[in-house]
């Protein structure tokens, strides 16, 4: 009865439904018990090359989805068991990608990140790049996080998580964002605990003084909320060595490969990776890309990679000024690392299970049975491609990732070439 009324309502709401669809709906109503038994899955992705780093899967497998969750991962799941089947031959099937560095507290304030036009809307960029989860990097602080939640997080189809800024109003411009009196470890930790399903850590960044109080407060809030600290840029008076020394294992530094005057680059003038940086990595500090408009330079990233400092995650630092520059999308950053020499498997690890682990959300970034069905189906284009860094320089490559299909909680949120669709009939 419930089933009946639901489909009847659907018919009423969609007056232009095709006769074929109408017939199949009625057929469905008629044979409910049999249909349910035979087609236990909503969606089946067949013959794709599954890369699921958490579960050590790197081979051709089928994935079945039911009720928005991963129902089964197996070598051969019959198409008859699914209401819908997608042929992913020659494509890679990976967990929905996680971008742990974005600025998505979009609003209408001019010249602002917090509630402003410098931030961007997550759904505009995520799904077309295979991303199903973004983490906002402290655009909101403990004071304006509720507005961010109401205005963006609750309205987005993308899963939006957040590092909350130690500055009460987040990235709201100077002088407000540098007011030490507005940086309150207890308030930040309180908000982080209150919204523990969304807030995954505490961010420090954008402080131009030499006083370590803001950094220490962020660390204090991270300790109090038992979350990682996310260290962004624009801390010109803090030396890189001191920052890395103060950071705990599991804390995250971003813009790892920047070459700007306000922070010492990780690779020195002779092209050598600084030993204390490697030591910090060994201690357990996590290095995020944080590409952005100025945070990623081949002159840093390439030697760093060759000397052992691969990024732990590919945070894009998506915002108004990076979206059309060398950054473009997280898939573009991942393709850059393939051009630098990282294997596809390593790239996927750093875009899925690694970031999930770093934000202590190991329910995400994997294709375990029972996990939410956030899935990206990627194709690897072969050809002559070029990639640009923050300095406007080019690196050439011969592979490029493209998102064919993105599934969020079992729902198709992006379908580049109509992989999930039937051919139209005249």
């Amino acid at each position: 009865m419930i089933l009946y009324s639901k489909y009847y309502l659907m018919l009423l709401k969609k007056p232009f439904i095709t006769t074929v669809a109408v017939r199949s709906v009625f057929a469905f109503l008629f044979f409910v018990p049999i249909t349910l038994y035979a087609q236990q899955y909503d969606l089946l992705i067949k013959n794709g090359h599954v890369i699921d780093p958490k579960n050590n899967i790197d081979r051709i497998k089928d994935i079945a989805v039911a009720n928005g969750k991963i129902a089964k991962v197996d070598n051969d799941i019959p198409a008859a068991q699914s209401k819908k089947t997608i042929d992913a031959t020659d494509l890679y099937v990976v967990p929905g990608l996680i971008d742990i560095h974005t600025h998505v507290f979009v609003g209408s304030k001019a010249d602002k990140f917090a509630d402003g036009i410098y931030s961007v809307s997550p759904d505009d960029f995520s799904f077309k790049s295979g991303v199903t989860t973004v983490v906002d990097a402290g655009t909101s602080g403990w004071r304006n996080f509720p507005l961010f939640k109401e205005q963006v997080i609750d309205k987005s189809q993308t899963r939006v998580l957040a590092f909350v800024n130690i500055a009460g109003s987040g990235m709201s411009g100077k002088p407000m964002q540098e007011d030490i009196n507005d940086m309150n470890a207890d308030s930040a930790a309180l908000v982080a605990k209150k919204y523990k399903d969304i807030i995954v850590g505490i961010k420090i960044g954008h402080y131009e003084g030499s006083d370590w109080t803001p950094f220490d407060k962020a660390l204090d809030a991270a300790n109090k909320s038992n979350t990682p600290m996310f260290v962004e840029c624009h801390l010109p008076q803090y030396s890189l060595q001191d920052q890395l020394q103060k950071m705990r294992p599991g804390d995250i530094i971003t813009h790892s490969y920047e070459q700007v005057s306000e922070r010492m680059p990780v690779v020195d003038e002779q092209g050598k990776l600084r030993p204390f940086v490697l030591a910090a990595q060994k201690k357990g500090v996590l290095f995020d890309v944080g590409h952005g408009g100025a945070g990623f330079w081949f002159s840093q990233a390439v030697p760093a990679f060759q000397q052992g400092l691969a990024p732990n995650s590919f945070g894009s630092d998506l915002h108004r000024f990076s979206m059309n520059a060398g950054m473009k999308s997280m898939l573009n950053i991942m393709s850059k690392y393939m051009a630098i020499g990282m294997s596809l498997e390593d790239v996927v690890t750093r875009a899925t299970s690694n970031p999930a682990k770093s934000i202590k959300r190991e329910d995400l970034g994997n294709l375990s049975e029972g996990a939410v069905a956030d899935i990206a189906v990627l194709n690897v284009q072969n050809g002559k491609f070029g990639f640009i860094d923050a300095g406007g320089n080019r690196l050439e490559g011969n592979k490029k990732l493209e998102a064919e299909l993105t599934i969020r909680a079992g729902k198709i949120a992006w379908d580049l070439n109509g992989l999930s669709a039937q051919q139209w009939k005249q």
């Binding site: 007056p15 232009f16 095709t18 979009v106 609003g107 209408s108 001019a110 509630d115 036009i117 961007v120 809307s121 759904d123 505009d124 960029f125 799904f127 077309k128 109401e150 205005q151 309205k155 081949f298 002159s299 390439v302 108004r320 979206m323 059309n324 060398g326 473009k328 002559k384 491609f385 070029g386 990639f387 640009i388 860094d389 300095g391 406007g392 320089n393 080019r394 690196l395 050439e396 949120a413 992006w414 379908d415 580049l416 070439n417 109509g418 992989l419 999930s420 669709a421 039937q422 051919q423 139209w424 009939k425 005249q426």
Partner: protein, 410 residues
Amino acid sequence: MTLFAVNILQAQQIDILLKGGHVIDPKNKIDEQMDVAIANGKIFQVAKDISAKNAKQLIDVSGFYVTPGIIDMHVHVFNGTDVDAYIANALTSLPPDGFTFRAGVTTVVDAGSSGWRNFRQFKKQTIDKAQTRVLAFLNIVGNGMVGRLEEQDISDMNPQQTAYMIKKLFPDIIVGIKAAHYWGDFTQVDHAVEAGKLANVPVMVDFGEHQPPNSIEALFMQHLRPGDIFTHTFSYGPTVRETVVDDSGKVKPFMFAAQKRGIIFDVGHGGGAFSWRQAVPAMQQGFQPNVISTDLHAESMNGGMKDMSNVMSKFLNMGMSLQDVILRSTWNPANVIKRTDLGNLSVGSDADIAVFNLRKGDFGFLDVRKTKLKGTQKLEAELTIRAGKIVWDLNGIGAPSWEEELQKNK
């Protein structure tokens, strides 16, 4: 005299020289390999074999198509935070820059998201802050697209105020008037046309929510003027909008007559307004849209529409020539909105340029009913230039090699 002219040409510095591309510039009837030189944000020269000697930056675009910056004549970009509103100052509208340049678009025309009451806010909030050139159709409803209920308010459809806003206050930005989402008779359209006459601008009509549907033949032949625009042309929703192709798959005869009369047919793809069952038969029977556009908004961006280059690619794969596709997304919309300074590569024009790669392969294209048309070619924006500045460079064709730069700096 000739010598003198040559000297001037050589003395002038070229900022960017696009070399070796296949130029398609419908206004100037160019459809062959040519070089394009840019200086001071303007088109400086279009010719064969322009010397690179005086060029500050040389970009090899051989193998690519070079076209005027694309004009997307139907978008919704009055982005804002009014969570109770629909399109005006709301989340359904999108900030333009994230969608335009990556698709080769340099100019968008907002299709009536704002009306005369809230246009100033739209301008301040979006238009003045965007890198994309944003023009607008002003909604005949004073509050624009706040919500469906508000859009039915005849007392808020004021031709005088609307025309005044256009003619006296913002003639450089507002290019026409929009009538949309109306449930009643022809009253809204007639008010819009009255305003259009007062301001001497075209009217764009979304005729999609009438129950039962109003006659589109009457709309084209009696209510609209030549130069007025019918959008969502290939929509299939016969209970609320009369279709242009009938149930037997035939284009209704008056469609050709209407187009001949001067009615402009716009694609306006959107999230619900483009069906293969309308578009394919129309194309097969020789009915082509005058203008290709997206109806970009939050509910179309991740669906079958995606972006302007995807919508253009759909027409390529339905059999429209590349030249016709470019015409319908550059020079045609420029003429429709009476902005003939745009959509061309004439010397002296703003250097708004798109460089496309025509990918070959197996592609698929979705319509709003989630059925697919298979295709073999797809346009991809390699490089987009807005007022002489590179605003999108997909593969770094305008960038130097990082290793060479590193050597130079050592």
